[in-house]
């Protein structure tokens, strides 16, 4: 089992993000009284959870050599559908509707990228705009109603002092890790992103693998939205927007190669924690949300640049 760990760490390249995360966490922990309160730490988990879910989906897609720009808008869409339908009909029907929409748009992305061989960037940019348009049509401004019983189950019910929301995210993360590390589909993701021609010639079902990756990505985003709506207790047509870049940044910071074929979920999730903690720390410092967008994006870009430099240096040494 030791050799398996070694193989995985070489493939994932996760040492740098682990180091960065530990350093970041320690510094915040040592120097900020308010950061190290258990309340804030739980709060941090609550904040990171949706990003973690989105990063999982994004990692799957990036491993295939693609990118999914539409997932942020999925989160917004899910909250607006929930806030407009849950109270009127029933929670179950609303969830069914949300996942139905998520599934079909993921299918659309995957179909366009694999069968029509469209560029993932353009395809998902288009779906992003489509979904954003639909969302603003449903709810032009934050509002709607989220039934208290739903919020109570997801947010206010606690186990070991953590909301169900967090437990659900942990559960989904574990399942997705099993999917990536233990299933044939998981290995095929690496093959499609690492050498597509080799995958085709070896008889890997490349198209199905791609479609499934995009479906996973949109389902993860939908799940994040469904949980998010319980946290903010209303529908918000713009709440998901920052998550697209954040998830790409988290994956890249976590050692997932944007060229595809290299990286993994352990790195990606650590990346999500790094990006999430930055938000949390900026909050603690009292930076306004608008400046947070600016600062966080700068940090993400800098971190990606840094990660690439490290990789270049390692590459030179390995040769």
């Amino acid at each position: 089992m030791k050799r398996e760990k070694k193989l995985r760490s070489k493939r994932e390249n996760w040492q740098a993000p682990v180091f960065a995360f530990t350093a970041l966490f320690l510094i915040a922990f040592l120097f900020s009284d308010s950061f190290r309160t258990s309340r804030n730490l739980v709060n941090l988990l609550v904040q990171v959870a949706p990003l973690a879910l989105l990063t999982i989906g994004q990692t799957f897609v990036i491993l295939t050599g693609g990118i999914d720009l539409s997932i942020g808008s999925f989160v917004s869409l899910a909250t607006t559908i929930a806030a407009t339908t849950m109270a009127e009909s029933s929670i179950a029907i609303s969830l069914l509707l949300i996942y139905g929409v998520g599934l079909s748009i993921g299918l659309l992305n995957g179909f366009a990228v694999s069968y029509l061989q469209m560029n993932p960037f353009v395809t998902t940019l288009a779906t992003m705009v489509i979904v954003q348009g639909l969302t603003l049509h449903i709810l032009p401004a934050p509002g709607g109603v989220v039934p208290y019983e739903y919020v109570k189950v997801i947010m206010y019910t606690r186990m070991l002092n953590m909301p169900v929301f967090v437990w659900l995210s942990i559960g989904v993360s574990i399942i997705m890790m099993i999917v990536l590390y233990k299933t044939k589909f998981g290995l095929n993701l690496y093959a499609v992103g690492g050498n597509k021609l080799a995958a085709v010639l070896s008889g890997v079902r490349v198209r199905q693998t791609l479609v499934l990756a995009y479906i996973m990505s949109s389902l993860m985003a939908t799940t994040a939205g469904v949980m998010m709506v319980a946290r903010i207790s209303c529908g918000d047509p713009l709440v998901g927007q920052p998550y697209t870049l954040d998830s790409i940044g988290a994956a890249a910071v976590g050692g997932v190669s944007l060229a595809g074929g290299r990286g993994g979920l352990i790195g990606g999730l650590i990346g999500a924690f790094i990006i999430g903690s930055i938000s949390n720390i900026l909050n603690m410092l009292g930076v306004t949300p608008y400046w947070q967008f600016v600062l966080k994006s700068l940090i993400i870009v800098a971190a990606i640049g840094f990660a690439i430099r490290i990789k270049l240096m390692q590459g030179a040494r390995e040769k």
Partner: protein, 503 residues
């Protein structure tokens, strides 16, 4: 006994602008080793891809085990026991050896793969081939030769009735080739049919029972190998008589022996080992080493493609600082890469655009002066004898030999002083190789200094004036052409001998 395992009948295949296969009839008997030869662009690869389900033929039919078949995809063919080891490496870099071997066919029930089974089978097959590596090594960490064996293992791990090897020996060392031949003979005895594609004719004659020769998308003929000589095959391939000869060296008296380039204690960052050597005017200097012994790194570092720790480069006693490839080009130091499709050419651009690119780099003005460019391009095309239908033809559609001539020729809008050639003849046909040899000798006679690395030792012996051997990133020997023998060069290149060449 001689019922054919597979028979191709009247198959034709057209691509835009090219008739790749014309009415091809080809069949293989069960349990034979069947050679397939032809110049680049003769249609061998297309034929293989039609058999293995990558391409669909426009006309004709394929009979497999006596029945008509239509393979819609490679996985269809694989299911029927047809496995191909492709020329371009069909491996995934960040999967392990075991994962690559089972790619497309992972063991295990349902959604999950069985790691234990995968590693057990891989270890078994690695042992039987005497391949000493851990099965969980990432393919990215293997040498080119080792990767080739992984490809072969990948084909062997599933029951194959027909195994197609497309240039399997191009990246192998002599002892590895022997190992491969043992494996192939073993397979033959087990009743597997093998189609063996190679440019190396001695190998064809050694291993194959039957050989089919292709030319311009057609079958020239199928013969028993015992009835042919190497010359016969070459003549059938090119349709004219060709002699594999190397152009003559100028005699010592006629050659100017002025120092052209001197490299002192030059340390590439990735190896950390210093190298020193001199290059004379009009000399073809060989850098010979087995794969990954530093010869390529030194070339790429001289051209500033890889970072350098320290060292001095003097061109005609002038000390030069080369920090980017652009600097190198300005000093007249040119590098042509081994992977011409990835690094040497912009494949989808035209011949004209590829040749114009370095000219534009050198040109001071920013405006493109078409008339002059055209003139230079025409000159280069005729000087290097590049066969194109017109200047706007995509280099993608040229044969390997002509592509290579573009790779080298495009630098000759002004004459460079030093050429660094990395595998200038890899994967090109015999006729083109001879042409390249001639071109190199002519260039050197004009005073250009050439440093060349080729993994084909015979070729190095034929074209070089002097060879420096590399072993573990250091220069271990210097041999002048009068003393060239395969044994001596190999002894230095494998570190068994050393005349500790150091300045």
């Amino acid at each position: 006994m001689f019922e054919p395992l597979i028979a191709i009948e009247n198959v034709s295949k057209r691509f835009p602008g090219v008739q790749a296969l014309k009415n091809v009839n080809f069949s293989c008997s069960k349990g034979t080793i069947h050679g397939l030869v032809g110049e680049n662009g003769a249609g061998k690869s297309t034929l293989i891809k039609v058999i293995s389900g990558v391409y669909h033929s426009d006309e004709g039919r394929i009979l497999y085990k006596g029945q008509r078949v239509h393979f819609h995809s490679p996985s269809d063919a694989i299911k029927n026991g047809i496995r191909v080891v492709y020329q371009e490496f069909g491996l995934v870099p960040f999967l392990s050896i075991a994962e690559n071997i089972f790619l497309g066919n992972f063991p295990g029930k349902g959604l999950f793969f069985s790691k234990r089974e995968m590693y057990k089978h891989t270890e078994a097959i690695m042992q039987s081939l005497g391949f000493d590596k851990s099965p969980d090594t990432l393919v990215a960490d293997l040498s080119v030769g080792e990767q080739q064996f992984v490809e072969i293992m990948k084909a062997l791990v599933q029951k194959a009735n027909l195994l197609i090897l497309d240039e399997p020996t191009a990246a192998l060392l002599p002892n590895e080739v022997e190992k491969l031949f043992t494996i192939i003979r073993d397979l033959k005895n087990k009743g597997v049919t093998v189609i063996f594609v190679s440019h190396r004719l001695p190998e064809i004659l050694e291993i194959c029972d039957i050989v089919t020769i292709m030319k311009d998308g057609e079958i020239v003929g199928t013969f028993e190998t015992s009835s042919l000589t190497e010359e016969d095959i070459v003549n059938l391939m090119v349709g004219r008589t060709v002699e594999v000869t190397f152009p003559k060296r100028l005699t010592e008296m006629k050659r100017k022996r002025e120092l052209l380039m001197e490299v002192k204690r030059f340390v590439p960052a990735s190896t950390g080992k210093p190298v020193s050597f001199q290059l004379f005017e009009g000399e073809i200097l060989g850098f010979y080493g087995l794969e990954g012994q530093g010869q390529r790194t030194v070339m790429r570092s001289l051209f500033a493609l890889e970072s350098v720790l320290s060292g001095e480069i003097r061109l005609r006693s002038e000390s030069v600082r080369i920090k980017t490839p652009h600097d190198a080009i300005r000093y007249g130091l040119i590098y042509t890469p081994a992977s011409r499709k990835e690094e040497g050419l912009a494949l989808i651009l035209s011949v004209y655009e590829n040749i114009a690119m370095p000219i534009l780099i050198r040109q001071k003005a920013n405006l493109v002066r078409n008339r002059e460019l055209l003139k230079v391009c025409r000159r280069i095309i005729s000087e290097f004898n590049i066969k194109v239908s017109n200047l706007n033809q995509r280099v993608l559609n040229l044969s390997g030999g002509n592509q290579q001539k573009v790779v080298i020729g495009k630098w000759f809008s002004e004459y460079p002083r030093v050429l660094l050639l990395d595998e200038p003849t890899r994967g090109i046909d015999v006729g083109s190789k001879i042409e390249i040899y001639k071109i190199l000798r002519e260039l050197s006679n004009q005073g250009i200094g050439i440093i060349v690395f080729s993994s084909d030792l015979i070729e190095m012996i034929g074209i070089c004036d002097r060879i420096l051997t590399f072993y573990e990133n250091e220069i271990t020997g210097e041999i002048r052409w009068q003393d060239f023998t395969e044994e001596i060069i190999m002894a230095y290149a494998t570190g068994t001998h050393s005349n500790k060449f150091s300045a």
